[in-house]
Point group: C2
Chain length 188, copies 2
């Protein structure tokens, strides 16, 4: 990896909206963002420390009801770093789909196993698509602000691709299922 810590940009992007604790940041990432990016405490907390040292964010320790709580705030330098990143043309877009990996090597086992793997994938996608559609419906009722345009575009990206996945699932099941039938016929 090396060179550019992407979690920094996620954090800056979130703090650009509102001050947050590390825990809050994790919750935000686990929401709508999780469809295209992930984050864990294991990289959020160290990143917050580093970024504070670099002056991209500032710390505010609060004792809310006797409980420790560290809120972070984006600085001017942090906002500049966020903009610099947005304007960088080099991006990394990667798919990491174990289902496809399994399918690619499925010659090592029976068609039933491949079909089951496609079904598992299909079930997951259907569930996620349902969730995305609730996001979409909520958006339709919300006021048409500038931020909503971008949020809405990422949601529609998810919906379009997941619908394409489902179409592919149907085709794949048909292709593998047909052969299963043909073999059945030959065997009978």
């Amino acid at each position: 990896m090396a060179r550019e810590r992407k979690i920094d940009m996620v954090i800056l992007g979130l703090l650009n909206h509102e001050d947050l604790t590390g825990y809050d940041i994790k919750k935000r990432i686990d929401g709508a963002i999780s469809f295209f990016w992930k984050g864990s405490f294991g990289n959020i907390y160290p990143a917050l420390k580093d970024m504070e040292n670099q002056g991209l964010i500032t710390k505010r320790e609060l004792a809310v009801g006797g409980r420790d709580k560290i809120t972070y705030h984006i600085t001017k330098s942090g906002k500049a770093a966020l903009k610099d990143w947005l304007r960088e043309e080099q991006v990394s877009n990667e798919l990491k789909y174990e289902t496809l990996l399994k399918l690619f090597f499925s010659g090592a086992d029976s068609r039933e196993v491949s079909l089951r793997n496609i079904e598992v994938f299909e079930e997951q996608i259907k569930k996620d698509l349902k969730l995305l559609k609730t996001y979409s419906e909520t958006l339709e009722k919300a006021p048409d602000t500038e931020d909503h345009v971008y949020y809405s575009l990422t949601v529609s990206f998810g919906i379009e691709t997941y619908e394409a996945y489902l179409k592919w699932c149907a085709k794949a099941k048909k292709m593998l299922g047909k052969r299963v039938m043909e073999i059945d016929e030959t065997e009978s």
Copy 2:
């Protein structure tokens, strides 16, 4: 991460077909597989060592023309491990798209910047889609074997999703472009 090293399964899947060197494995991963999985020397070579110790693969040192070359061969135990993995229902399917991350935080900059980011994405997808279609054409001319079915399914997955991406790009550009025009009109 911990728990299950996925690179092991990629290696077993490849070795299930033919004996390969670490370098060969890297080349295979950088081919069609790279659309849904990645691998680096930094995890391939250590994995090969570990898996040999575990008895999943065996080493064959060859001195081809005085040059060192270590070929690996899958064992019965390795084949069993590959099957076990194929039959495991729990999978991890993740998208990691920096373009969507940028779009999500695009409220921090101008519409021109967002539009440019979508264009960069679109260009990359068009290039990749072209490559996928050459894979697809090659496949059509090839004999209709069992392994080709699975390879063909992964290729068609890529084609379908990339076409959905392009449709979304057109929609997104329209949505952002329109607003740019509206602002232009207000300003003039």
